[in-house]
């Protein structure tokens, strides 16, 4: 580092009231380089970025030490001068592209506002600057797009607009706070590549905040790992990945998926097969889904005329054997959650049938419905939202047993205590309310509640996606252990390949409502057959910085984006399948 650093942080401590959340932090970022600040939630990484922006909550948040931007001390700067720094010399990209743009202002106007305030451009020059920025972040048709509102932009495009706004005034430093966490992997890969390109061009320093070591391996030059407000390891990205000093850093690196990103070509050319392939482990399937189709009506106009249908799930067929785990992967909007919801009657089924233990579920018959709801349980994504905040957890675990008349109060109480122990919670805490538990513990409660019904199948809808890496591993281990003990099957819906790889026996890949590939986990991830599966897998961040550039970037889908909304008269072409190896089926391109 021979160039003088853009930002230099020395002995930074941040406290809220009497609690100190960041202790004695030191780092420098040179022009054009990227420092990744890694840590789980609560480690103090976001607070650090707020301190640099001078956005700590007034009165209660206090920062000590020194933050020098281009040699100027920021901590003692007055608010008016700080405003010039913010957005001018330092700008920020937030995690949530859906909410960080103002929904009632045109995209071009929002971008123009930043440029006008910090550069003082007006009129035609301003418009030209806006167009220029939009072109730089590769927004197609910028002349048209600048007049549109944010809701017409996809998540990835919004994040690119955010990047444009951040870069608009040639800042010396960009703080990117989990900028790709909310994006799909393929979009994430494109966004990261764009950010890197632009950074090379402008020599901007980037402070990249993330919890994902894969992303760090992709973009960072230097890494600083934080835990509980303290630095626990720092160094260049190669040092940290090749020889992590701290056990915690090692566990973070090991949490990355291992199989993915190393796939080989399919071994034998796939052979076409007749009909719809369905396979499962064991003698009889616990769950069979045949030709399931879910559509949502699209109405428009004053009278709410039916103008089209959202084809959320199209002719999906699969089965799960006893004690088996099937992973359902795909990007947001691919219909994977809708399948789970349709099975338990939270989404309307258009056609097709669902069989649980060989018996067809009749969604119109309350008895059949009640039987299905005993046999099939669901664990939701958000452990904070899926529990009633006013109900003690003991009561929450007992309630389904009592409602379905499976046990008397005393038995239910005993079973609840036993279940709490099984999932690793102290039964004495049954009278506590959900908010007294951490995210991981709450997910344990949800698992206990699902198990209370002695179900045959548990649908886990992104059940571990909201958890920190270490906790995620624990919950997956718990789920695997409980599966062995209770011989329950899982339908594991997730976009998280590392989790899928660890827990799933088989995987089904979904793309725009259709299953495009299904087979054993090692077959699908190791020898993907469908184009989309390859694209998905190659977008997953690498696990070591040495792999940088060795892998072709996911080809950007240049064809017109497929829309799940189809006109009323649309009929899907019949799918044709081919088999690559035993139980590994690939849908042929239609």
């Amino acid at each position: 580092m021979n160039k003088s650093p853009v930002i230099s942080v020395r002995n930074l401590s941040i406290s809220f009231g009497r609690t100190t959340v960041v202790h004695d932090l030191n780092f420098d970022i040179a022009p054009g380089s990227t420092l990744a600040l890694v840590g789980e939630s609560g480690s103090g990484k976001s607070v650090t970025s707020l301190a640099i922006m001078g956005l700590l909550p007034e009165r209660i948040g206090r920062a000590k030490g020194s933050i020098a931007l281009e040699g100027r001390e920021l901590l003692t700067l007055s608010e008016p001068s700080m405003q010039k720094v913010r957005g001018g010399r330092v700008s920020m990209i937030f995690q949530e592209p859906m909410t960080s743009l103002n929904p009632v202002q045109r995209v071009g106007d929002q971008l123009a506002e930043v440029i006008r305030i910090h550069k003082g451009l007006r009129g035609a020059a301003l418009k030209e600057a806006v167009l220029d920025m939009l072109r730089k972040v590769r927004i197609p048709d910028p002349e048209v797009r600048m007049h549109q509102y944010p809701h017409t932009f996809s998540g990835g495009m919004r994040q690119r607009v955010m990047i444009a706004m951040a870069l608009a005034c040639n800042p010396a430093l960009i703080i990117a706070d989990e900028p790709t966490t909310a994006l799909d992997v393929t979009v994430q890969a494109q966004t990261l590549a764009l950010l890197k390109d632009l950074q090379r061009e402008t020599q901007t320093a980037v402070l990249f905040i993330t919890h994902d070591m894969g992303v760090v391996a992709e973009v960072a030059d230097n890494v600083l790992v934080m835990r509980r407000g303290r630095e626990i390891e720092s160094g260049t990205v190669h040092e940290v990945f090749s020889a992590p000093k701290d056990a915690y850093t090692r566990s973070l690196i090991e949490a990355a998926p291992s199989l993915v990103g190393k796939f080989a070509e399919t071994r034998t050319p796939p052979q076409p097969v007749q009909g719809v392939p369905v396979s499962y482990a064991g003698d009889a399937p616990v769950l069979e889904v045949n030709d399931l189709t879910v559509r949502f009506p699209v109405r428009s106009g004053f009278f709410g005329r039916l103008t089209g249908m959202v084809h959320a799930v199209e002719h999906a067929s699969f089965a799960i054997g006893k004690g088996e785990t099937l992973g359902l992967v795909g990007e947001s909007g691919s219909g994977k959650s809708t399948i789970g919801k349709a099975i338990i009657n939270l989404a309307p089924i258009d056609s097709g049938e669902v069989r649980v233990s060989g018996q067809r579920v009749d969604y119109g018959d309350p008895q059949s419905l009640a039987r299905m709801r005993r046999d099939v349980q669901m664990i939701f994504q958000d452990p904070f939202g899926s529990l009633d905040t006013r109900q003690t957890i003991g009561s929450a675990i007992m309630e389904p047993m009592l409602v379905h008349g499976l046990a008397k109060r005393a038995e239910a109480f005993e079973k609840m205590q036993w279940l709490m122990e099984r999932v690793g919670l102290d039964p004495a805490r049954a009278t506590s309310l959900p908010h007294e538990f951490s995210g991981g513990q709450r997910q344990r409660i949800c698992i206990a509640r699902a198990l209370a019904m002695s179900p045959k199948l548990i649908i886990a809808d992104e059940a571990v996606s909201a958890l920190d890496v270490a906790i995620k591993g624990q919950i997956i281990d718990l789920m695997i252990d409980l599966q062995k003990e209770f011989d329950v099957s899982y339908l594991f819906i997730s976009h998280d390949m590392a989790a899928v790889e660890r827990i799933c026996d088989r995987v089904a890949v979904m793309y725009f409502g259709e299953i495009v590939e299904i087979g054993k986990t090692e077959d699908v991830i190791g020898h993907p057959g469908h184009d989309y599966t390859r694209r998905l897998l190659s977008a997953i961040p690498i696990t070591h910085p040495d792999q940088r550039g060795k892998r072709p970037l996911p080809s950007v889908d240049l064809t017109k984006p497929r829309s799940p909304i189809k006109p009323l008269e649309y009929r899907a072409p019949p799918p044709s399948w081919s088999m690559a190896s035993e139980g590994h089926f690939i849908r042929s391109a239609s």
Binding site: S41, G42, Q377, M378, L387, T431
Partner: protein, 293 residues
């Protein structure tokens, strides 16, 4: 982003969380609670606290000024104002509280069902509520009482009727925001019945807002009752009601203004107290509003 988990090994003491909630109430809320409690006690122990009989007339003591015999003076029939004020508190509080209780139960149930079921039921229920809401509550109460007759039950029903839409609206809004939460979906996925989800799981979440509404509307109910009595549609004389006392005193406002002023102050006090409680509860439940004011 920032982790908000509580240290897992320390269970929270439920009693202390109630205490924490009470600790959030500001001083003016406590003043309101104190006033209402004092008035409730005065109403309950009216016979013990009264110095005369509420209906005892005495020509000798007409328009007596406050003094040792009549603490707050006497009215144009020589009745003791202090005594009538105490007994009047009984009617004001009974009518105000029971009318709001009825409105709360009926309105909340209507609003919750409308919000949860949605569709046509929602439209019909809420259209009816909107029609009721469109009338000024005093005019509506007046019409109803005039139609049904001025008995205690009828006045309660009339006031409850005017207050019901407010509760229906707030309950519906609350249910709609809760309905799509994941915990409700989880309940449905476990096969819980609609009423169970609605009353066991959603209702506790919306009750705080409903309670705030109730205490604010209690002030309105007291005022409406007094207004009805003032224009002669209250309980028939000689029953002592505050509104009736104001009207009686109005005739002699120039010669003996304390006749009208004293019951007016009582009404003001009670309305103020309910408003203080309502505002305080709202601030405690939703701390964001504190900064706004």
């Amino acid at each position: 982003m920032t982790d908000t988990t509580v240290a897992p090994s320390t269970p929270i003491d439920r009693k202390s969380s109630i205490r924490a909630f009470l600790g959030q109430l500001n001083a003016s809320t406590w003043i309101g609670v104190f006033i209402v409690l004092a008035l409730v006690l005065a109403a309950i122990f009216a016979p013990q606290l009264a110095t005369h009989s509420p209906a005892r007339q005495s020509i000798m003591d007409q328009l007596a000024l406050p003094g040792s015999q009549f603490w707050l003076g006497a009215d144009q029939f020589g009745r003791d104002i202090w005594t009538r004020l105490l007994y009047g508190a009984r009617y004001s509080l009974t009518i105000g509280m029971s009318a709001i209780l009825v409105a709360l139960v009926v309105g909340t149930v209507i609003g919750m069902i409308a919000g949860y079921v949605g569709g046509r039921i929602d439209i019909i229920f809420m259209q009816v509520m909107d029609v009721v809401l469109a009338f000024p509550s005093l005019i509506l109460g007046l019409a109803l009482v005039a139609l049904m007759g001025a008995t205690l039950t009828n006045i309660i029903i009339a006031i409850a009727f005017t207050a019901t839409p407010a509760f229906a609206r707030i309950a519906r809004a609350g249910v709609i925001t809760q309905r799509d939460r994941e915990y409700v979906q989880a309940c449905r996925a476990m096969g819980f019945s609609g009423p169970r989800i609605l009353f066991r799981h959603i209702m506790p979440a919306i009750l705080p807002e409903v309670m705030v509404m109730a205490s604010l509307w209690m002030a309105t109910a007291v005022r409406t009752e007094a207004s009805l009595a003032f224009i002669g549609l209250g309980l028939a004389p000689p029953t002592p009601t505050w509104g009736g006392m104001v009207r009686d005193g109005f005739d002699n406002i120039l010669s003996a203004f304390h006749l009208a002023i004293i019951p007016s102050l009582a009404i003001l006090l009670l309305v103020l107290a309910f408003n203080l409680i309502g505002d305080g509860l709202r601030d405690a439940i939703d701390p964001r509003l504190k900064d706004a004011s």
